[in-house]
């Protein structure tokens, strides 16, 4: 059959099925293959919050969404161009996200009576015309793989489990992707199990062939390669990027790494990765609770390690007393908070940006510290390095804010050349001559750092207010004021050591969008769309939240109106108001969902209608 070819700029596809159907795997393979051929990619997994919900249920649906394309792809996309649905529930749950007219491949074997009942369908949607708005392709994928592997030695149960690979093969044909990247992965994975490897390869190929030869698929979609800089790439989740970032930051500081942590969704994977890094001599403690997690990190930091602790909201709440200790001890510490829906246990698997207040103000007494935030999965790497740089250089705990969306989503990460990364210089001293524990570097105000093992520099520090320079305990009123001032000044001074904020679009005008952290992709998409629609709007995105970049005030004053989209009730907006006495318009979404580009677009369009 003669197939048509259609060229696209980008596409959004989603694999959906039961938790056991391997959707996360094929999603990952699809994105890696897409990256490897030079597309930009952005993904988001959508797990059920139950560990293993009963098979076929609505709440047991697991999905993986990928947007890939020729240009910069900032989000996993909104409406879906291709849905692969392995059973009735996965169709039902995901249909609302599918574009009208889009292609939906369903595994018809997943639409038997039981599956329909569990999906709470009264009638079979494949038969009642309810899907007439879409191009639905029902295929008995279970049957197809059975047929393909009928002469294989592997168990029928396993055969059925290759359905996902068959579907993957089909999508590879549909979007004109090569098989070899996946084949290589299969070889790495199943190298030792020849049957399994062969079966998977066959099924992958069969899926591709099926799509290629079947009458059903009339069009093949092609997407040109992006203009990616030469180099090595990989798709990486935010959590993985933090883990690698910690190792590399410690390496750049020429310090050993220690992580003290306690598992909590959605931050736990950082601990998982780190716990596997023994070959890099990374030490860690899975502590008995968050308090011990941060305290053990403080202990390791005291011992001269590059120390970190990772957590999410409830864990951050538990750590604040110890973070205050790190502030007064003036010891470096990287605290990674992967924000999730609050308050309390809240929506543990869902993203939110509602810990900014906590990061900024959530300690008793005067205990300022720097705050940075990552904008994308791969940016988590850069911001981990930045957090580490500030912590070590200024002898201070630093909070890095990411969120559940960045943590689990991926985008391609250009693997850096280590030499290009900033060097990090701890203030270690070894000379007893004139040493005092609270003597400072006059430039950074960082105190000198003598670690145990350094002869002649034995000294005591602690959580009581300490005398300037000597570090002795004192209640002297003037000294307390001085130390409070110094600690504040030290953090404020960092303003001279961080990049200026950048405005995209005009440098002044009517409307500026100001974002921070993980909403970057959505706002950027919206911004690009608005600009290409000829709308006059500018965009500035913050990665340094305390202190703010030096030029931020100037930027804000150059616009009549400022729109601040946030996944909270207005934390940045509040801080901008108090810092600069500048008003802004909030776009506040607290739904346990990432921000959507169209929400920003709509809001901007609405605002532009009413010219100030």
């Amino acid at each position: 059959m003669e197939k048509q070819v259609q060229y696209l700029e980008e596409a959004v596809i989603r694999f959906a099925g039961d938790s056991g159907d391997g959707m996360q795997l094929v999603g990952t393979l699809f994105s890696n293959t897409s990256g490897s051929i030079g597309n930009d990619v952005n993904t988001f997994p959508d797990y059920p919050s139950e560990i293993r919900a009963p098979e076929g249920t609505l709440y047991g649906v697991s999905a993986y969404q990928i947007q890939f394309g020729q240009k910069r792809i900032n989000t996993p996309g909104n409406k879906i161009d291709l849905l692969v649905a392995m059973n009735a529930s996965s169709l039902k749950v995901n249909l609302p996200h599918v574009k009208k007219g889009a292609l939906i491949i369903v595994n018809s074997a997943g639409f038997d009576e039981k599956n329909l009942r569990l999906a709470k369908y009264q009638k079979n949607p494949l038969e009642d015309n309810s899907l007439s708005d879409y191009q639905v392709v029902p295929l008995n994928i279970s049957g197809l793989v059975k047929e393909e592997l009928k002469d294989s030695q592997i168990s029928p149960k396993y055969v059925d489990r290759t359905k996902n690979i068959f579907a993957l093969g089909m999508t590879y044909w549909l979007y004109d992707r090569p098989l070899h990247h996946t084949e290589k992965w299969l070889e790495g994975k199943f190298g030792k199990k020849a049957d399994i490897l062969a079966s998977n390869k066959r099924v992958l190929k069969a899926g591709w062939e099926f799509a290629n030869t079947s009458e059903i698929f009339k069009t093949q979609f092609k997407i040109k390669h992006s203009d990616m800089k030469p180099g090595y790439y990989r798709n990486i989740t935010g959590n993985h990027a933090v883990a690698i970032g910690l190792v590399i930051a410690a390496h750049k500081a020429n310090m050993p790494l220690f992580l003290g942590s306690y598992p909590i969704t959605p931050a736990t994977e950082i601990l998982h990765f780190i716990s596997g890094y023994k070959e890099y001599k990374v030490k860690h403690l899975q502590a008995e609770d968050e308090i011990a997690g941060v305290c053990s990190a403080i202990g390791a930091s005291y011992g001269g390690f590059f120390a970190a602790t990772t957590t999410s909201g409830p864990g951050l709440s538990l750590k604040v007393e110890a973070i205050g200790l790190a502030v007064i001890l003036e010891l470096p510490l990287v605290i990674v908070d992967v924000q999730r829906g609050g308050p309390s246990t809240g929506l543990p698997t869902k993203p939110e940006q509602s810990d900014l207040f906590m990061a900024m103000y959530g300690r008793h007494g005067e205990a300022p510290l720097p705050i940075v935030a990552a904008t994308s999965a791969s940016d988590c790497f850069d911001m981990t390095i930045e957090a580490g740089r500030l912590a070590i250089k200024y002898m201070t705990p630093v909070i890095l804010l990411t969120d559940g969306y960045l943590a689990q989503g991926t985008n391609p990460w250009k693997i850096p050349n280590l030499d290009e990364l900033p060097d990090i210089h701890p203030t270690f001293v070894t000379n007893p001559e004139g040493f005092a524990p609270y003597k400072r570097d006059p430039q950074t105000l960082a105190r000198l750092w003598a670690i145990p093992g350094t002869q002649g520099l034995e000294h005591r520090i602690g959580g009581l207010e300490k005398e300037d320079i000597t570090g002795l305990v004192t209640q002297d009123p003037a000294n307390h004021q001085k130390m409070v001032d110094i600690r504040a000044k030290k953090i404020e001074n960092i303003v001279n050591d961080i990049p200026l904020a950048v405005v995209e679009g005009e440098q002044h005008g009517d409307l500026l969008i100001l974002g921070w952290g993980g909403t970057y992709g959505a706002i950027k998409d919206a911004f690009d769309k608005l600009r290409s629609d000829g709308k006059k709007v500018s965009y500035c995105h913050l990665k340094h939240l305390n202190p703010f970049p030096k030029n931020l005030e100037q930027i804000l004053k150059s616009f009549k109106r400022i729109l601040i989209p946030e996944l909270n009730m207005g934390h940045l907006r509040t801080i901008i108001r108090s810092t600069y006495l500048i008003d802004s318009i909030g776009l506040n979404k607290v739904q346990g969902l990432p921000l959507n580009a169209y929400e920003v677009e709509d809001k901007v369009n609405e605002l532009l209608k009413v010219k100030e």
Binding site: N254, G260, K283, C295, G303, R460, G463
Partner: protein, 349 residues
């Protein structure tokens, strides 16, 4: 690549390691009340330090908050006066990071067993090689006299004007139940035994818990008099010594015999029983340790002092070192390229 920390860790001590107790005195005034049990503990620690042969720069004292937790300020080594209850958690991180350091914790009954209870039991379990000296004065002193988890029922304190209702912890039992490898008890007024216990803690390669009855002259004066004053201590306490029969009494005429697994007091003066009938202490027997610890609040039994248990078990930090040595020693291990570029990566040319 070796890190800055490696370099400091492996640096040789310049000069000989040859101290007197005075070398461990920090140049500031000790600010405990006159008569506080803390003075003796401090003195004994300073006395045994030279004998350990550890360079001062390798010694760290970490404490929480409390009168007792002021301890690090008085020791001229490295020290951290940290947060109420968190000394063990902080020290665990430091010890895992820097196993070559000699780590000591000064803590109180409140600091260690009340707010710090969770870190305590987990460090016991993990067997991190920390030397914990718990000043048990049966009260929160720094905050001016509330009851603690080792206060006795009925005790009148500022926060129990009508008498304490709580049953106290038996610190030795708690430590044993949590898996501590060395568990011991002493009291402020017995310098020799304290020195011995601190030395044992220092030598023990694993978690050491030394409970010290420390008199608080202000808020719980005399709480341990029965076991510590000359007039009564011989009849009301008993010193546990490894391999030796359990004998006590003013005239060394009483002993502990096991009746099944119940300890009972027998006279070895009246000829019915001899030393050979008595229970012989064995530090390596954890059941025996529990039986002896269980005597603690039994008013009929003498209060045991000394080492309840001392068992060698691999330390947590050693296991970390071993795992690191194993995996980092594999051929090709530790290459950062492999961390950065993996099987899922691709190259764009």
């Amino acid at each position: 690549m070796s890190t800055v920390v490696d370099e400091i860790t492996h640096r040789q001590h310049v000069g000989t390691v040859d101290y007197t107790p005075k070398d461990f005195k920090a140049p500031i005034d000790v600010r405990w009340c006159a008569g506080c049990g803390g003075y003796s503990i401090l003195a004994q620690v300073q006395r045994i330090m030279p004998g350990l042969g550890i360079p001062k720069e390798k010694i760290v004292f970490i404490s929480g908050i409390g009168c007792s937790s002021r301890f690090p300020y008085y020791m001229d080594v490295y020290g951290v006066h940290s947060l109420h209850g968190r000394a063990i958690a902080i020290a665990s991180g430091l010890k895992i990071a820097r196993p070559e350091l000699s780590l000591w914790i000064a803590t109180g009954d409140g600091d260690c067993m009340s707010i710090g209870g969770n870190h305590f039991i987990h460090a016991c379990r993990r067997n991190v090689n920390l030397n914990v000296i718990m000043f048990n004065n049966g009260v929160y002193s720094l905050t001016k006299g509330q009851y603690s988890p080792t206060s006795q029922q009925g005790q009148i304190t500022k926060s129990s004007p009508l008498g304490v209702l709580d049953d106290p912890f038996n610190p030795a039992s708690l430590a044993l139940g949590s898996g501590a490898s060395l568990v011991a008890r002493g009291y402020d007024g017995d310098p020799k035994n304290l020195q011995y216990l601190f030395e044992r803690a220092a030598q023990h390669n694993g978690f050491s818990f030394v409970e010290v009855y420390a008199n608080c002259v202000i808020y719980n004066d005399g709480a341990f008099d029965l076991f510590t004053r000359k007039e009564t201590r011989n009849e009301h306490s008993i010193l546990l010594e490894h391999g030796k029969p359990l004998i006590f009494g003013d005239n060394k005429d009483k002993g502990i015999k096991l009746d099944g697994f119940k300890p009972t007091i027998v006279s070895i003066a009246d000829g019915k029983y001899s030393v050979n009938d008595l229970l012989v202490h064995d530090e390596q027997d954890s059941t025996l340790a529990f039986i002896l610890a269980n005597m603690t609040y039994n008013p009929e039994m003498p209060r045991p002092m000394g080492v309840f248990q001392a068992i060698e078990r691999k330390t947590y930090e050693q296991k970390v070192e071993d795992q690191i040595a194993y995996y980092s020693g594999k051929p090709g291990a530790g290459k950062l390229e492999n961390l950065l570029i993996d099987e899922d990566s691709w190259e764009i040319k």
